[in-house]
Subunit: 255 residues, 2 copies
């Protein structure tokens, strides 16, 4: 694996793109948001960046991502997956120059995770720090380093996965109406979907099953409540260790 | 991105899983093979491992993978993609103990790439070193570190991709018969496919187009030659930098 140690000027960091759904004003429909951290030292002092930090020697990669997430948002993710390792030499030319001037490490390789959190949790928890703020993915500020590229790639991954997996579940409660499920898909994809087509697709995929209950309320015909078909894995991560239990792994943080 | 440097006891390495097709004896049908490197120092002295090594400070991740590949096999990959970063604390307990005894770095995080090479190239090039050997994926030796887990995951990724992308192209020449294409799919998937079903699927996917030519030979009805439909991207890597040109990036090595 290695004959000599890596050049000491390479730093290994772990960062996390955290997606949540929040109601948009004034429509009250859900849309995609993510938290950013304002940097309080150079390089990119004062600019917004993805939450993250250097990997600790005694820490798993996924544990590092979950720790960052907890420190930033006080949240436990309902989904957490490795996205990509970003390590090109030109990912932050400014950083290299500034770093040299400041006598800091020149090069950072970032292993990036992406996470989904439940919107109810977001409302309850607020932010963990005054230097953390949530932004709509449609209205992001200029980001430090190459974090704009990372966010774009994370959005692409999320939008791909929501179409062929049970990923939307992370944004919903245990039971939901088909309209709520469609609104999640619309928020993730950033476009509206035909309700009748959506219902047909969902029903033919056998991904959700009726609970036999309806929304409690005053309307004449309250909508039916559904739940996800537990027989279908939320997402296929293949033979990776712990791959069949993404949720328990993420929940380790709760203890 | 980082407030302090990573603990110096974390080494960042880049390894590559390289797949090629070679004729199996005695059937002469293609099957999947990969090259391994025999370790010549502890830990795991004498055992087989994936080709790789520590990341150089002045080197892109992908360039590091391509360099390793060239040094191991003297080949230019026809496909090269990041697979996953492996960094759990328990990925090589033996390594940690041995490393301590030897005064080496305790922990290695490996960013792993996977590559496909053309079988004609393999025959021409042979191996770059006497410590390199090719193995059938169905008959691998015990591997050093957690490299068995890495190979299993790479195989899973390859098998998934061959079903929904043009990935088999990397194993074929510019033109090929449908039987040759099917044999590649069979070799990758490790099971036989019904020829008529395969033909229907391939034709309905519009992934290959007839060249109008036939195999040159003596048979009464020589099979038609096809080529891939160039209008379809070989694989969708999304908005990653350089994602639309995986081949030119890999070919940089030739200069």
């Amino acid at each position: 694996m290695t004959e000599k140690t890596t050049d000491a000027s390479v730093t290994l960091a772990v960062s996390t793109v955290i997606f949540a759904l929040r109601p948009d004003r004034p429509t009250d429909l859900p849309s995609l948001w993510l938290p950013l951290v304002r940097r309080i030292r150079p390089p990119y002092d004062g600019q917004w960046a993805l939450p993250g930090g250097p990997l600790r020697a005694d820490e798993d990669l996924e544990a590092s991502a979950a720790r960052t997430l907890a420190a930033t948002t006080a949240l436990t993710p309902s989904y957490l997956e490795q996205l990509y390792a970003f390590g090109t030499l030109d990912r932050s030319p400014l950083e290299r120059i500034t770093a040299k001037a400041l006598g800091l490490t020149e090069r950072v390789v970032s292993i990036v995770y992406w996470a989904l959190v439940n919107p109810d949790q977001v409302v309850q928890s607020g932010n963990a720090s005054e230097n953390v703020a949530w932004f709509s993915v449609d209205d992001l500020p200029d980001l430090a380093f190459d974090h704009d590229v990372i966010v774009e790639y994370a959005l692409w991954r999320l939008r791909n996965k929501v179409e062929y997996s049970r990923i939307a579940h992370a944004f919903l409660g245990d039971t939901f109406t088909l309209a709520e499920l469609r609104e999640v898909h619309e928020a993730v994809l950033g476009r509206s979907l035909d309700p009748a087509n959506f219902r047909r697709q969902i029903e033919s995929a056998n991904a959700v099953v009726p609970t036999g209950k309806r929304v409690t309320g005053t309307s004449y015909r309250p909508p039916k409540l559904y739940r996800y078909n537990q027989a279908i894995e939320p997402i296929d991560r293949g033979p990776l260790p712990g791959a069949r239990q993404p949720l328990p792994a993420a929940r380790k943080l709760e203890s």
